[in-house]
């Protein structure tokens, strides 16, 4: 398959992730949407790495970058979930719309 097919998949994932973050009324969904965005980026990185220009093959920087992203995603998910749990215990809800005491 050619590169653009992979890119299209990644772009779609990215958009779906954005929509999920913005539209679902549950913090867990928000976190899942974030994961989708990161994965879309990862797919990009790997695909681009694979389809490198002539003479630059062999470098694995894209893939290695993706590994780092996965690591960070894990750490981020951990912290985000911890915060969500904390929110749950203080607000008794994980609907983002209900957590709006700070506002103008």
């Amino acid at each position: 398959m050619e590169l653009s097919a992979y890119l299209a998949v990644a772009a779609l994932l990215f958009l779906i992730g954005l929509v999920m973050v913005a539209a679902r009324r549950n913090l867990i969904y928000v976190l899942m949407g974030l994961e989708l965005i990161l994965n879309a980026a990862n797919l990009n990185l790997v695909a681009f790495n694979r389809f490198r220009p002539e003479g630059m093959e062999g470098h694995l920087d894209g893939q290695i970058g993706a590994v780092f992203v996965i690591i960070l995603a894990a750490a981020e998910a951990a912290i985000a979930l911890a915060i969500v749990l904390n929110i749950h215990s203080l607000f008794e809800t994980i609907r983002p719309d209900d957590i709006d005491t700070l506002k103008d």
């Binding site: 992730g17 990862n42 681009f48 960070l72 981020e76 911890a82």
Partner: protein
């Protein structure tokens, strides 16, 4: 050049990072040994000690030759200066945290640890030419900040702030990463320096829009950190919710690091597309025009939003949040020029911003200690009772407004000149206009402090005295006031920009 360095030589370059890492490990161990719960001050001194060591090492490295070590870590004046910026800011935040009498004692060990981690992230953020390492630094800084925001886990406001921060931050950094991946795809490299060549090719081939898309996506991430419009929504809520020292950290250290990184990214990765000065215009491309317009619009919108929304705030931290949004707009104005003078002005302004914003947050802390309130109302009549802190506050306010002879004026002046000369006079005019608008809300603070009768003051019966904090404020105020220092600031910014532009 970098390859010529031996391992030890290379290590010498990153000794500040090493010291910081050892420091954070030490704090963690100390905390695990039980120090965090019982003797929070010791941990603070430990952290401050390591930060001091780091600063010493950094100062020592100020005059060193530029070098790339470990393949992707760039040690140059820009990085070193901003590492100092971050380290000292974090040190002040720790001092603020110590002085904050309204926080629970628990979690101190974690706070110091996370602050140091954040500083480490910031170090890598400002000192790398590799997109992945940049992302990594950004996330280290970010993750620590998310945790710091929620560190007071029994505080509803803090929890809400941390949630907003983490969601918004993760989203922004994800978008940034997506943009970075596209940029990687376009150029086949993660190194900014090599990227530049490909970007010029791409633009020459008429693919400006393709370059602009990842640029925009990357800007989302930086926009979030710098609280630029339209990515600034989190800032007021988060600043208000978190404790004052952490808010100061977010407003100063995090923002400063992001600015330096942004400048480096643009100055290096887009170096082929920059307008270096009035005399050395490279052929202007669609991309350049689009990029300038984009940044200028963001800058203008940020200024407008920050200043106008601040007009009616009652909560000091919220007010300062809006004000810091406005100031981010000013800084972005320098970046928007896409030239040496602009970068220099933006960096110089970030130093000024450092002084006055830390001062302003310190002021909030100081008076909140006295009155127990973070509202403007809590300041009523406090001026005559605390002349030193209140006078320092006036200096900060004058500087934030941009009145001479404070540093704020010189910074703004530099930005205006750069923007005007760089072809954005309307933005300079807007800045001037915004100064007047900002006067209105800044001087509500001055009014509360001095113009309201002393009888209205409502100090807590057991309000602790915080002379150290007062001293810090005085020093910051003196720094803000001694405008003759502007020359060294300017020089530092110049050297930093030189270093990245001629990399």
């Amino acid at each position: 050049m970098a390859d010529a360095l031996s391992y030890l030589d290379a290590l010498k370059y990153i000794l500040p990072e090493v010291a910081l890492t050892i420091g954070l490990c030490a704090v963690l161990i100390w905390d695990l040994l039980g120090g965090g719960a019982d003797r929070p001050r010791e941990g603070a001194w430990l952290s401050l000690g390591f930060l001091g060591l780091t600063c010493l090492l950094l100062i020592q490295r100020l005059g060193w030759q530029e070098a790339t070590v470990f393949g992707m870590v760039r040690v140059d004046p820009l990085a070193t200066v901003f590492k100092l910026f971050i380290a000292t800011a974090v040190g002040l935040v720790i001092a603020f945290d110590l002085a904050d009498r309204r926080q629970p004692a628990e979690g101190k060990g974690e706070t110091w640890f996370l602050l140091l981690t954040a500083a480490l992230g910031g170090f890598f953020l400002v000192g790398t030419g590799n997109l992945i390492l940049l992302y990594l630094g950004l996330e280290t800084l970010g993750l620590s900040s998310y945790a710091l925001a929620g560190i007071h886990k029994r505080d509803r406001a803090g929890a809400e702030a941390s949630l907003k921060y983490v969601v918004y931050g993760a989203l922004a950094s994800g978008v940034l990463l997506f943009g970075a991946s596209l940029l990687y795809g376009m150029s086949g490299t993660l190194e900014m320096r090599e990227m530049a060549r490909f970007l010029v090719f791409a633009v020459d081939e008429g693919r400006s829009a393709q370059v602009l898309l990842p640029t925009l996506l990357i800007l989302v991430g930086f926009g979030f950190k710098l609280s630029l419009f339209p990515f600034q929504w989190w800032a007021p809520d988060v600043y208000q919710g978190v404790s004052t020292p952490i808010a100061a950290f977010l407003a100063v250290a995090s923002k400063g690091a992001a600015l330096a990184a942004l400048v480096r990214l643009i100055a290096v990765a887009y170096s082929g597309l920059l307008r270096l000065g009035p005399d050395t215009f490279l052929p202007e491309t669609d991309f350049t025009r689009g990029f300038v317009l984009l940044l200028a619009l963001m800058s203008a919108a940020t200024m407008l939003f920050g200043n106008l929304a601040a007009l009616r705030q009652e909560n000091l931290k919220r007010l300062l949040a809006y004000s810091s949004i406005g100031h981010a707009g000013y800084m972005l104005m320098g970046v928007a020029v896409l030239g040496e003078a602009g970068f220099r002005a933006a960096l110089a302004y970030s130093f000024v911003y450092y002084l006055m914003t830390l001062g302003a947050f310190g002021m909030v802390l100081y008076f909140a200690n006295q009155s127990g309130s973070e509202d403007i109302r809590g300041l009523h009549g406090m001026g005559p009772r605390h002349p030193l802190a209140a006078t320092a506050t006036i200096v900060f306010l004058a500087s934030l407004t941009g009145l001479p002879p404070t540093a704020g004026f010189f910074g703004k002046w530099y930005l205006m000149v750069a923007a005007w000369e760089g072809g954005l006079p309307w933005l300079a005019l807007l800045t001037a206009l915004m100064s007047v608008v900002s006067l209105f809300y800044y001087f509500r603070i001055a009014r509360a402090l001095f113009l309201r009768p002393e009888e209205e003051a409502t100090p807590l019966p057991d309000a602790p005295r915080t002379p150290v904090l007062g001293g810090i404020l005085a020093v910051l105020a003196a720094g803000t006031l001694v405008f003759l220092w502007f020359e060294p600031l300017l020089a530092a910014a110049s050297v930093g920009v030189e270093a990245v532009l001629h990399w």
